[in-house]
Symmetry: D2
């Protein structure tokens, strides 16, 4: 029996392109869903073994729906990370020219990423929001509200559309980061190029709590590649933080930082340790090596058990 | 000649309710615009003296379009802050009942704020995104894509709609924070209950930069009420931070923190010092009093000019 | 066979008064030695089971000879702490009056502690340094260099001397702190009112090392009651630090601080955990309770072993 | 009329060698005094224009008598720093050989610096403390308590003594640091290779005060070359700190650190800014340049006075 993987569909989305990077997903069943909540529900219910979801893009930052869904849904683990270069084409029904375009259908994030190009090339255009990048294109067949749509390049492989303009994205380096989420608590092995994701709710009874949270990482030589605040939702000004830390929980310095964090705030969710998409080895100074942690523990254990303390060099 | 104030319209929006709290705006011309960019353009071009824009809400956090627009548009200043309690009604064309509703039109933020209610009461509903809370309701007359819409309660004063459900908001404490933005560089006077808004781009050449930024505030006893990361947009993982600090730039401790920040990162935008909406006096420990700063300056000036140093108590 | 205890003698010294506070030493052999080095040699060689030595006084600070001897002598442990109120009498050979006194013999520390009294009452006096408080008095019989001597009050129980003035100490609160040192690596049990002594050599390859050392304690809620710099001796500006931390190494927060310290600088000497002389319970905030440390370790162990993470409240 | 300079005499001391390095003192009157207190009294009373005093040596650390005298005597300023290599000779009355030596006279600090040599070459020697290095030698003529004395090499130029051993100092790099102290509040000009000396009493009403004091320097990129704790003297565990910071008070980063310190603790004594003895230029990272401080002040002044804020690059 085959495994099922959920992704934000339909065919042609960037999420599908991310899923195509997963070797284990090849030849399995891919289930197209409508939003992040549905994707995570598939995983929680066991309908799918994993779901691919967008978590950060270089224009819009953390994908808030994803971050909030991860914070609300217990029992999930990130098991992999994938990058997809984001580039849009402007498509229309056959017979349409760029001059004909009055109204553009686009997912709000796509619209934000192409806004400068649209302002320059279609200065009087209107915008109709769509629920996904592909939906914007499909709506061209269902209604006549929009004359053109922003869509991923793969769209033309699936539908009869003409491309009015290619690579309309404002920023040539635009990239979206996706994560593969499952229920499994078996963690990917450390590779030396790993990332650990957490959600931390700050204790609210003292000032300077964020500073103190960051010190849990800095005092162990652990760098952060993502720090995103998200409102908890119960009152203005109450936030939780989504954190990506360099390294694997089985790296001593990361484990020690997690111990410190947990003591600092029991309201912490561990989202997983997994290989970085870019496979770039984590850099850290040698005083935070695993061996240094192990040696210190041995020393302390010796002290407490009554062995004589032989200082290294005093 | 009257002054013009821009706001996200049309009539009936929460933004209009925020503008209604501004004494100087009474009896002046109010200009309804379609989005934040347009509102700020009005201010930059001089078409309006000020614009009211939403900046943070208790469910969705910082309003990203606003934060990014403020970061991109030089020469603006926040001159006032206003809170509006957010509560939605579910409205429909006359003759519709709750049982008839299949598809709900709603601005994505409104939709997020009422999602639990909708899932409980309309478990099979679909969602069509709208460009604003009022647009969702008006679309009911223009098209038949949606059967009902989430809208501010004031909508029924302006349009012929029936209310299918009141107060559908999931969180009874939901509040949106608005700011009034102008070009004026004349700052509101300090009131003792002030807030200072900044956008800071972290220097990218060293680790621990965020920690160091926060220390600029903590070492002067200045608390932050907002810290929101926003991608700069040029590469994944590059962020700027939107910061609300307690106090006025003419408070010594805030001024000193700004000096430290500017030295730390010249890429800083001062968005203004202005009275807090809740008029709650800023609390801080007495060692950060203005007098302490003045005394230290006098002491140092004396030292450098050659006056003898008479220690307080050594 | 009886145990031997070494102390800075001869009979009548404050060190003897400290040793008199040790229940186990009662009825044992007490060995009078001439200086700290000799006392520690007795312990290292096994000639004595323990030695009482002065470590800090409220006028002169850390007793440098003691601190340096502890840093140089491996294998020692502090097993107890004792306080003795310091008060001097001015003594002379029978027949001498205060008016006759031209030259005062005194150990340099005693001299410093009585300097103001001497300046006020014997404004033209000279000073001859002695090797100990008691030696100053005994020298009155051996030579005629001095006319009077500063000595502990107990001196008159042992020698035929007249008291010219009582309680000549400048500061009525003057106290000296003594420690009992042994070779035993069996630590006193935690009492809730303990102290842990360490010698730490800062790594010399980075600035801000002292700040970083202090953070090892502050981030675990451990207060320091002593921090004394002592030159390492190899070059100007190279220092080691003698540290007294509140708590016992078997308190989780202290153990964790020691782990951090050892990782930070392998050049650390553990001098022992032992009950405080004043029996004052160590105060610390509840977030540094042992239970918090244990819970965090259990949580992390669960994560790594593959148990699902059930967050406390997210 | 000539100026008078006080120094710890008599002729031949290391202090005299330090004074010989002062160009302005050449051809003036040099006044030999018996201790640091007397030297500072000369300056306070106006009897001398300046006094040379030892402040730190590489074996004994900060010279406590000096540090305490500076803390107690208001109105003094350090105007220069001088280094003298410390090397002792063992001298005796003519006719004495090394084999004859039973008792060695020595100032306690000198004794500590030569202890290993003495233990190796005169294992059974006794020690008689002297009030100064030269006094130890002169006592050889006055009494027969000691058979030999540790003295500075210059001693043989002034007195009829034989040298039993040269360079007996244990550490070949032993150096003593001296400072020239005056009443003048006219500071030496900045040279780029300066030092600033301070005495700071920590506020006693909060934990972590030392950490906070150190942060005043580290957050402005100012390094410390000396940090020495000294008991205040009123109770066990109450300390003040003697600090040498790199740079001149007219360097912006040092001035700003002093402002922060003064706000943190009004109980601060400024001892002066003066050229370093080693003339080594102060190193600091460019973000703490004077220009960065000036630019930040100009920016803030512009903001407060109502100039538009033109961000550097946002």
């Amino acid at each position: 029996m085959s495994d099922t993987y959920s992704y934000l569909g339909p065919s042609g989305t960037f999420t599908e392109a991310a899923l195509a990077q997963v070797p284990e997903a090849q030849g399995q069943e891919w289930r197209s869903v409508n939003n992040v909540g549905e994707a995570l529900d598939d995983v929680v219910s066991g309908r799918s073994v994993a779901a691919m979801i967008a978590i950060e893009n270089s224009i819009e930052g953390g994908v808030t729906a994803t971050l909030d869904a991860l914070a609300r849904t217990p029992g999930l683990r990130i098991v992999g990370e994938y990058l997809v270069r984001v580039s849009f084409v402007l498509v229309a029904r056959p017979g349409t020219t760029l001059e004909d375009v009055r109204v553009v259908g686009a997912h709000p994030v796509a619209y934000a990423q192409c806004r400068q190009w649209l302002d320059a090339n279609l200065p009087t255009h209107g915008h109709i929001p769509a629920t996904s990048n592909v939906a914007a294109a499909l709506d061209l067949f269902a209604t006549d509200h929009a004359d053109a749509a922003l869509a991923p390049p793969a769209i033309v492989r699936h539908h009869d559309l003409v491309v009015l303009a290619e690579d309309v994205t404002d920023n040539a380096n635009s990239v979206t980061r996706f994560v593969l989420v499952s229920r499994s608590t078996r963690m990917p092995e450390p590779t030396g190029a790993d990332k650990t994701s957490l959600i931390v709710e700050l204790p609210d009874d003292r000032p300077g709590a964020l500073l103190e949270m960051l010190e849990q990482f800095s005092t162990r030589g652990v760098n952060l590649s993502l720090l995103q605040s998200r409102p908890i939702g119960d009152a203005l000004g109450r936030y939780r933080f989504v954190v990506d830390a360099d390294g694997h929980v089985r790296d001593e310095r990361v484990a020690d930082a997690l111990l410190g964090l947990r003591r600092f705030s029991p309201r912490i969710t561990f989202l997983g340790s997994y290989p970085r998409a870019d496979r770039a080895p984590v850099e850290y100074v040698s005083r935070y090596d695993d061996g240094v942690f192990v040696e210190a523990r041995d020393w302390l254990r010796g002290l407490i058990s009554g062995e004589p303390d032989v200082p290294e060099s005093l």
